[in-house]
Structures are given as C-alpha cells and as structure tokens.
C-alpha cells in the first residue's frame, strides 16, 4: 500500500502517537467469552478497531480420518477475513496470507493446549475477522485462547498476544494499521504469562540487538495487560453475577 501520506506525524514531540496514545499504551480492548450457542466455545474481541469472532469445536471426530493421529489430538485453525473486513472488498477465498496466519496461530496455540489427552480427535478453531485494523493475528490469537478455555479444553496456560514495534525510531506497544504501514518494525508476540514462555514471535523490519530486546520486553509487558482482560472475560462469564 504505497502512496501513504508521507507527512503524517507518527510520534509528536510530547510522545503522543498518531491516534493519541502514549508509547506504551495499548488500544482499547474488549473481550467477551461465549456468545455463540452452537459452538462448544466462543469468544469475541474488539481490539481497537479490530472486531474478531472465534468459535471452537471439539475435541471431536477427525474427518477426513487419515488426518487423525493415534498418539495425540490435532489442532486445526482457520483464520478468515470477511469480504467486508477491509476498505476494498476482499475475495473470500483463503489467500496466501490467511493460510500463513492460520498456521502461525495454530503453532502459537499448540504449546498451551494439552492435545495429548485426546488421541484420535481434533479441536477446530474458526476465526472470523469482521473488521481489520492492523494487528489482527494478535487479537485473533488472544480471542482463540479465550474460546478454547470456554470450550473446556485443557490448557497449560492462556496465550495472550500483542504487537510491539518501532515507529519514528521509538519502541512502541500495540502497532496500529498506520504505524504498521509507515513504521520501521512490527513484532507480534504471543506469551503464556504463568509459564513465562513465548509462543509466537515474528518480526517484520530491522532492529538493532538492543532495540530487539527492548521490543520483546515491551511486548511481554503488553501481553500481561491483555492477559488480565482475558481473565476478566472468563471470570465474568463463569463466576459473574448470575453466571452466563
């Protein structure tokens, strides 16, 4: 997406970003557990202007049968963007990018989900991006882990995710769409807060070793913020007043 407004100020002299946030401030995040009746587990997340719905099925029979594994269960993830999720209609057929993000999210969830308890079964995660505004993979991963917990699938830990990045030579938390396009680096991080382990780490851009370390630190701190909101979403559904 070239032809961006080159004069846009990404970071002003007071340390305020193009959408009015401070450098270590995430966007507004709202997570809701449940909501879909027919799925075994579900979650909805609003992450800034991202709106993502996740449904989980399973553990259940594997079809086609040859995909099943006698040693362990399998995790299948589909990340899909709605045609209306972006400004110009997106072809609903899975694109190269969507297939890749599905794989990345799957691999970020696998360390958390205890699939070995359910050999010969599959857990299916369906992620629908209703509205996209940069950082959908992080938001989708966050919501997917809430939906898995809602489905009652045993997990070692929740996976919280957020992106850090470098914008106007500064390390910032939660890169939005503008900053992603015009910024210098974008690093999505998935993190298991109790086990203190990173399950997703990607980097698009160039960072010095010092900046890299700083970026990871900022991202991990951000994940802890996200984790508190995941916890709140599940607590509200299961232990809130009057239950669900």
């Amino acid at each position: 997406m070239g032809g961006r407004n080159a004069t846009m100020v990404l970071l002003d002299e007071n340390g305020i970003r193009c959408d009015g946030r401070k450098i270590d401030e995430p966007r507004r995040i709202m997570i809701k557990a449940g909501g879909l009746k027919n799925a075994d587990g579900s979650a909805y997340i609003e992450f800034g202007n991202n709106k993502i719905l996740v449904g989980v099925f399973g553990p259940r029979d594997v079809h086609p049968k040859h995909m099943s594994n006698t040693d362990t269960g399998i995790l299948r993830v589909r990340y899909h963007m709605e045609p209306f999720s972006v400004t110009e209609r997106k072809n609903p057929a899975p694109s190269r990018r969507e297939i890749e993000i599905s794989k990345v999210i799957k691999e970020a969830l696998e360390p958390a989900v205890m699939l070995e308890k359910f050999p010969r079964t599959a857990v299916d995660v369906f992620i629908e991006v209703l509205q996209a505004d940069g950082g959908t993979r992080c938001a989708a991963l966050t919501a997917a882990s809430v939906a898995l917990a809602d489905a009652g699938i045993p997990m070692r830990d929740m996976v919280a995710s957020i992106a850090a990045g470098k914008v106007a030579d500064t390390i910032v938390l939660d890169v939005n769409n503008e900053e992603d396009q015009a910024g210098q680096a974008d690093m999505p991080i998935g993190y298991m807060p109790s086990l203190k382990k990173i399950t997703l780490l990607q980097l698009d851009g160039i960072l010095t070793p010092e900046e890299y370390k700083k970026c990871v630190d900022v991202g991990v701190q951000g994940c802890k913020i996200v984790y508190e909101l995941q916890k709140k979403a599940l607590t509200d559904k299961y232990f809130g007043k009057g239950g669900d």
């Binding site: 205890m114 079964t121 045993p154 070692r156 599940l234």
Partner: protein, 227 residues
C-alpha cells in the same frame, strides 16, 4: 486462605508446595497450575479442580446413557455424547454362543434405541468398550431423555445423592443419570414427569448457585401444596 475453594481459569497458579496434582491440574516446577475453568480444592496432600465446562471424557465404570448409532454384524456403535463412540460387542447381549450368521443384531437393539451402559474398558489407544450385561443396565423402554452439561452431573446427583433423591421423592419419578450428561426420566404421572424435568433443567442452568438445593426444594414443594 489456602484451604478455601477458589475460582480458577487455565494458567492460574493454585498453590505452591508439595502437593499431589489430581484432576485438571498440572505440576510445573513447584507450582500447581489449573488447566481448566473451574473451582479449585486443596486437600491435605493433593489439589484438584472441578471443571465447569467441557465434553464428557469416558472413565472406566462410569454409567452412561447411550444411543445406538449403527451396527455391524458383530457390534453396535453407541453415541455417548463424547468425542469417542461407544463400542458394544454382540457377545455382550447374545452371550458366548453368538453367531454372526444366526443372530441378527437389530432384533435386540435398533438404531435410535437408548441404553443404559457401563464403560467396561477405555484407554487412549482404543474407543471405549461398553457393556449392558449387568443389573440396572440394558435397553431403556420408556422415559424422556434430557440432555444436560456433563460437568453439571455431580451437582444434579448432589452430596451422597441428596439432590436427585429429593427430586425423585417429590415427583415419584425414576431418574437414570448418565455421567455423560444424558438423563432419562420416567414417571407414571405426566405432572411428575414435567416437574422432574423442570427441576433437572433448573439444576443445569443454575449449577453455580449456592443455595440451589433450597431453591429446588421450594419449587417442588410449592407445586406440591398447590396440587
């Protein structure tokens, strides 16, 4: 506060120290971590979490209600509301002298029939083997099937069966509870049946409420006085 019950979600550290991890918890270093949403309980030497969600996972000796899905010439397949299908061999019904030529499986159990069965064997390598050759087991001829969440079955049974006994006494209904969340209610009077059904559905919806027993009692007794 360690001995108190706590609400937990996956990843929550329940406690640290020399405890034995039981259901739905894992030991990570010296931390005991919950793997599911539920209520944690700490005993003298062990920790467990009672889960509030999730599918039914077969356990040996569990009583389950199954629905005949299909059959081959040697066995039936049962839907037991789990991710695995129940496997009921023909010898279990016809006896040792079962012959695949002479005996027709659909003469005993047809597709769609409900059976009370027990999980005879189950491990991670094979589908659960079920049996119906025991007292109280076998085909269910009459009654209404109610589906509740498997995680709420212990609540429906209550402490030493208190909840279910109360419902049975108040309505004169016979309730068969499968650990897989399927419940069959049969009763001679239609009112009793409806009342029992309503009580069971109430337990399913309000399983987390503390004074549920009183609420159910109230509902059943108020109706008693009216009629």
């Amino acid at each position: 506060m360690d001995n108190k019950r706590k609400y937990v979600i996956p990843g929550d550290v329940i406690t640290t120290g020399p405890f034995r991890p039981e259901q739905n918890v894992i030991l990570e270093g010296d931390k005991i971590i919950s793997t599911t949403i539920g209520i944690s309980e700490i005993y003298d030497d062990s920790v467990k979490v009672i889960t509030l969600t999730g599918k039914y996972i077969p356990k040996i000796d569990d009583l389950v209600i199954g629905k005949i899905n299909s059959h081959t010439s040697l066995s039936w397949e049962l839907d037991i509301n789990s991710c695995y299908v129940g496997f009921l061999p023909a010898q279990d019904v016809f006896g040792r002298d079962f012959s695949a030529h002479a005996d027709e499986l659909s003469s005993k159990l047809k597709t769609g029939d409900l059976v009370a069965a027990r999980i005879a064997n189950f491990d991670r390598t094979r589908d659960p083997l079920v049996t119906i050759s025991d007292r109280d087991l076998g085909k269910i001829d009459s009654g209404v099937l109610i589906k509740i969440s498997p995680s709420k079955v212990p609540r429906l049974i209550g402490k030493k069966g208190s909840m279910i006994q109360m419902i049975e006494m108040a309505t004169n209904a016979v309730v068969t509870i499968g650990q897989n969340g399927w419940v069959v209610v049969s009763c001679e009077s239609p009112e009793g049946l409806l009342k029992a059904k309503k009580a069971i559905e109430m337990v399913n919806e309000k399983a987390h409420v503390a004074n549920l027993t009183d609420q159910i009692k109230e509902m059943l007794e108020i109706k008693d006085n009216e009629s």
